[in-house]
Symmetry: C2
Subunit: 131 residues, 2 copies
Amino acid sequence: MELDHIGIAVARLDAALERWQPLLGAPHAAPEVVASNRVRVAFLSAGATHVELLEPSGEGSPLEKFLAERGEGIHHLAFRVPSVDAALAEVVARGGRVVDRAARPGARGRRVGFAHPSAFGGTLVEFVEVP
Amino acid sequence: MELDHIGIAVARLDAALERWQPLLGAPHAAPEVVASNRVRVAFLSAGATHVELLEPSGEGSPLEKFLAERGEGIHHLAFRVPSVDAALAEVVARGGRVVDRAARPGARGRRVGFAHPSAFGGTLVEFVEVP
């Protein structure tokens, strides 16, 4: 299963871009607000995979809680799958918990879905549909 | 800069392998003890990159402190560089802190070196020399 990207939680996207650009170069596109997650994101290339920098967007973003509890740092791993619905169902079939029961709209116009961190021993796993 | 692997801290390598193998398949090789870091590791493929599962090996492993404070989860990101010494020097030149001033022996017979998490806003970054 291919790694699509690594999500890194940041307090301020501008400051984070300055920090990472010496390693990874400029972002692919202007930052995008992902309304369903209340985050604003930018993607940088890292070989065949990407780093997604995420800052909270709007009141009550789930990312605010993460930042308050753990500070800035790696937030999730996202893997490419042909079907997000099937990948989530497989996690459930193995006895794992999921955040999303079915795919929903994510960044870059992709369908995405999250397993619960407990399903992978504390690592938050996202599935990204790449048909 | 290409992502070489994502390091995930785990309490027990056997249990972690069972959890990740449905997504990523079997490890490349038998687990390896990396004496310089007091960890025991296994690598799984994730497309062009890898997931490295790390468990503490021996008393006083730095990973024990991480697990006690944060629990199991994503521990570091490792990028491929032509020279670890040069990559570490660049971090220092930009005003960042480093854990290692020069390359040292890492897993898979590679030369590696770590920046300090503060250099990348809370993310522990490793450089892996791939000549």
